[in-house]
Amino acid sequence: MSSANPAGQTPNADRYLLRGAAVLGGERTDLLIGDGVILETGTGLSDARAAVLDADGLVVLPGMVDVHTHLREPGREDAETVETGTRAAALGGYTAVHAMANSSPVADTAGVVEQVYSLGRAAGWVDVRPVGAVTVGLAGEQLAELGAMADSRARVRMFSDDGMCVHDPVLMRRALEYVKAFDGVIAQHAQEPRLTAGAQMNEGKVSAVLGLTGWPAVAEEAIIARDVLLAQHVDSRLHVCHVSTAGSVDIIRWAKARGIKVTAEVTPHHLWLTEDLVRSYDPVYKVNPPLRSDEDVTALREAVADGTIDVIGTDHAPHPSEAKECEWAQAAMGMTGLETALSVVQHTLVETGMISWADFARITSATPARIGQLQDQGRLVAAGEPANLVLVDPAARWTVDPAAMATKGRNSPFAGRELPGAVKATFFRGHATVLDGALNTPYDFAGEL
């Protein structure tokens, strides 16, 4: 595959001709990319100015959209910055990420969300869509100025106190109602706080042996059950973050059958890893919600396959090494995920035959873009559409090395594992942010600022 930019081009004037890419893993076609869009598809295309990429054996998909990313900036630039986190996103095949609100200061004002939005534009690796906090300081007491964030340059549509649950039922009801004014969505981190005080891992047979305080499934399920009923009562949109239990899947399936406007996400790690890994007491496996049982993993995979769970969200949560090189109880919760998500979903769902690449495009791109209301993301791979694309080699095999990642976080639970599928190129607004599986250059927003 050639990676040369034709001489004399400004980055945003890139033209690429992808030869023989399998669209969504199906029909093979050439794609001509230029002016930020897919100019033409078909066989035997040619373009004198375009750099030609041999995509034989590769799959082309719409650029992935993450509904759940922690970029840590502002405040914890030691853990991650918008620059490093979005480099990781581009390498992982993403063209848009939703940056969670638990920064410092919290993204609970128009000023902070505009700052994050601007940092994303300056970085130029992906679209950065800030998620606004539901409550001031994530404290769960008073609504943040949701309307101001919606009206800001960041055009926030998703609101979440992620990491904290909006546990007060009245406050949750009001939030669900209020965001209808600008067609927003509340993304709930479902965790009943009193049932999870000091919780360290899934409550069950492993926690009983390890003597670690349990995080019971019911603490997630009880909140989801309450929230879907609230969403029904006030006719609002609810999004459930990182669903982790079989019981939650049942409740969401029931809610959808009743026509309640609920969407749900699952992380790649909850589709694969189980609580048995905690027996090592290695905090790289400490995450919230916690790793659950084999039965839960099976239920989550089936829920993605049957559409009960709508999207993949990485919950990419980088931490500095000292936050993990310690006792389990002292360690921070969270795992990196942007650079492994595609491979883990391929391993757990595509290679198990549970979903197709077309389904992959739906759960990693089209539906996440719809939930976050990103107009130029999650579109068809067709002429005239914005060129937000990822080119994947599904036959590739690679071994996860956290030290080689673009994220500052070294806390990948997949370290040392061999994974299938590699991102060969990512196109963001028609510009190749990733070429030959390596970072190229960012998109230049300068003219649009």
Binding site: K205, A208, L212, S280, E325, C326, E327, W328, A329, Q330
Partner: protein, 333 residues
């Protein structure tokens, strides 16, 4: 044996070997000069992130009777105040060439973390970690039970296990590292175990443990018990609604005077009453029970030193640090 971290992964052979070695060590305690030269020149660090005078002095006495140099390190760092990290503390001890680290920690899994982290080369002995395990306590309990059981069966202790022994363990199983270590070790040694507790003080998942579970102390006693172990219960647990009041707890699950008397009427004349200490007299155990001839509380303390001598001896008497390093070099080359 490289470390002693838990009884869950302790095989029958190693367990019996520790108990047999402890029998030999106990003879030292009966001598006028209570000292062996076995660990002369070795350094044992008692690294305590949680106060426990009883356990610390037991390990200190054990190491000193084996002629080891003992350093007591009361490390700061609670769940509230972080203090120095475990990694930095471990690397400090490594720089001081500690041969063994006896660690007590409020966090479950801290000893395993220390042993597997690569931060330190010393042998690690778990002296109680959070609500996970307390393997030397379980070993000293088993040692105490084995002596009793062998005497009843007119066998020699050495080489024996606990096949046929009926043990009941009553109290706050949920928060007890002693209960966990005892369940695994007693299973390995062939005893049958019944846990007795209010349902609130049993962990979710206890149904997978190799033991019986009962909510009723009287019916458990009526079925026949050879060793009755009471666990310490913190009265503050009532504030988190684990039980309504200390008095209700004592009535339903405490080993009180009535239950002490019932042992005779049930024909359980040889049943011993055990407690790891420190006791809450009047809560989980009455004074009459604690001070009765059936009580093994002080024998457990005495046996604790012997068992800890055995553990340190078996972990350290083999190769020196230098020899271990040589072996590592050879095996990795």
């Amino acid at each position: 044996m490289r470390h002693l971290l838990s009884t869950e992964d302790l095989g029958r052979g190693d367990a019996v070997r520790i108990l047999d070695t402890a029998e030999e060590m106990s003879a030292v305690g009966d001598r006028e000069v209570k000292k062996l030269p076995a660990l002369r020149g070795r350094t044992v660090v008692n690294l305590f992130f949680e106060d426990s005078t009883r356990t610390r002095i037991s390990f200190e006495a054990a190491a000193k009777r084996l002629s080891a140099d003992v350093i007591n390190f009361a490390a700061k760092g609670s769940s509230v105040s972080k203090g120095e990290s475990l990694k930095d503390t471990a690397q400090t001890l490594e720089a001081m060439s500690a041969d063994a680290v006896v660690i007590r920690h409020w966090a479950s899994g801290a000893p395993q973390r220390l042993a597997n982290s690569g931060w330190i080369d010393a042998a690690v002995v778990n002296a109680g970690d959070g609500t996970h395990e307390h393997p030397t306590q379980a070993l000293l309990d088993a040692f105490t039970m084995r002596r009793h059981w062998s005497r009843l069966n007119r066998n020699a202790s050495t080489g024996a296990d606990l096949t046929g022994l009926r043990v009941a363990i009553a109290g706050d199983v949920l928060h007890s590292r002693v209960a966990r270590s005892n369940v695994w070790l007693l299973r390995t040694l062939g005893a049958s175990v019944t846990l007795v507790a209010p349902p609130t003080l049993l962990p979710v998942g206890v149904e997978h443990w190799p033991c019986e579970v009962s909510y009723d102390l009287d019916s458990t006693l009526a079925k026949g018990v050879d060793a009755m172990m009471m666990l310490r219960v913190q009265a503050e647990r009532m504030n988190a609604s684990f039980f309504p009041s200390a008095r209700e707890y004592a009535r339903r699950w405490g080993f009180d005077d009535r239950r002490l008397a019932s042992l005779d009427s049930l024909g359980l004349k040889d049943t011993i009453i055990m407690h790891p200490g420190p006791m809450n007299r009047g809560l989980e155990i009455s004074s009459a029970a604690a001070d009765s001839p059936r009580s093994t509380v002080l024998a457990q303390v005495r046996n604790g030193v012997s068992v800890r001598m055995a553990a340190l001896y078996l972990l350290l008497s083999g190769d020196t640090r230098e020899e271990r390093n040589e072996l590592t070099k050879v095996s990795s080359s």
